[in-house]
């Protein structure tokens, strides 16, 4: 009986071997294993990170040096100056053309010429100041002020021209009337 019992017990366990596996691994178990394995390779990671950091620092340093010493640094204001020079030349040409036309008429009318002269001088002196500032500081604001000054001069000449032409027209009328 004892022998039979032994056989049965052993047989039962051997035949139902997997049914005895009633425990289930918890979900965090793999995380723990994974974490521990990652911890093991950490020194290698650190080494890699240090290398990466060194390379990055080198690239940044070279980049910064190139940026600081770049020849482009000077060309950007030059381009702005060039643009300004072109604008200035355009207005100066425009102004001198109108000036000549105005002068051709204005010489005959010294009274009107006087008002115009004082306005013109004011604009001229402020223009000189602005240009001095601009050559020193190259600020965009000064540049705008300079261009506005030139535009004002051109407008002033336009108005003067209008005034003179009105006078001329009236004179013609008077001449006819006389």
């Amino acid at each position: 009986m004892n022998k039979a019992m032994e056989d049965k017990l052993e047989k039962f366990i051997r035949n139902n071997r997997t049914a005895f596996d009633t425990q289930e691994p918890s979900e965090k178990l793999w995380d723990n294993i994974h974490f521990q394995l990652d911890g093991r390779v950490e020194p290698i990671n650190y080494l890699f990170m240090w290398r990466a950091a060194a390379v990055l620092l080198f690239i940044c340093s070279v980049g910064l040096l190139l940026y600081i010493n770049r020849p482009v640094g000077k060309t950007t204001p030059e381009v702005a100056t060039d643009e300004f020079t072109t604008t200035e030349q355009y207005y100066i040409r425009l102004i001198s053309e109108r000036q000549q036309r105005v002068l051709a008429v204005a010489n005959k009318y010294p009274d009107i010429e006087q008002d115009f002269e004082s306005d013109w001088k004011a604009l001229d002196s402020s223009y000189k100041d602005l240009k001095e500032q601009y050559t020193k500081y190259k600020s965009q604001e000064t540049l705008h002020a300079l261009i506005q000054n030139l535009q004002a001069k051109a407008n002033l000449l336009n108005k003067q021209m209008d005034v003179l032409q009105t006078i001329l027209a009236e004179q013609k009328k008077n001449n006819i009337d006389i």
Partner: protein
């Protein structure tokens, strides 16, 4: 392979449950079993290069789990107490072992009550399928010690099973 998390996870999924139950049968404690499993898997993945392929991977891994479990029991200083067992045959009724939850649960409960030394030998022989030569090697004892310990362990297990039957009215 060593740093391949995906491969490691696949291996883990394949063996985790079986290996957890191996560990659990040694220490009969869920938390300890998980600790053992964690240590064993980490050790296995670290030393995966030492897997020569002479045995199956599962067998190789199981040996690591068992060694880890045995070390764990040693460090926890669980006394391998000897039970002074009666050598006279146990008088027990014939039990009809059916494959049902109850029988499995009863055997598991009886296993838990076994002293550590008995349970270790019984588990290795009956559940993990090692022969006495292998058990002798694993435990560092003689083959005859393995055999006698196993017989005593099995007798004790049957005693506990019979107690259950009388106490709870199982069987015929």
């Amino acid at each position: 392979m060593q740093n391949n998390s995906v491969a490691q996870y696949k291996i883990y999924n394949l063996y985790a449950k079986a290996m957890l139950n191996v560990a659990y049968r040694f220490c009969t404690n869920e938390a300890d079993a998980e600790d053992i499993l964690q240590e064993a898997f980490v050790s296995a993945f670290k030393n995966i290069k030492s897997f020569k392929g002479t045995a199956s991977f599962g067998a190789w891994l199981k040996r690591i789990v068992i060694n880890t479990a045995l070390n764990h029991l040693k460090t926890k200083k669980i006394a391998f107490e000897e039970i002074k067992d009666s050598m006279e045959p146990v008088n027990e009724p014939e039990i009809d072992f059916e494959k049902d939850e109850l029988s499995i649960q009863r055997i598991q409960e009886a296993m838990k009550r076994l002293p550590q030394g008995y349970r270790t030998v019984l588990t290795l022989y009956l559940f993990e399928g090692y022969d006495h030569n292998e058990i002798a090697e694993i435990l560092g004892v003689s083959v005859s010690t393995s055999k006698s310990q196993y017989n005593r362990a099995k007798r004790k297990l049957k005693e506990f099973l019979n107690e259950q039957i009388y106490e709870q009215g199982y069987g015929g």
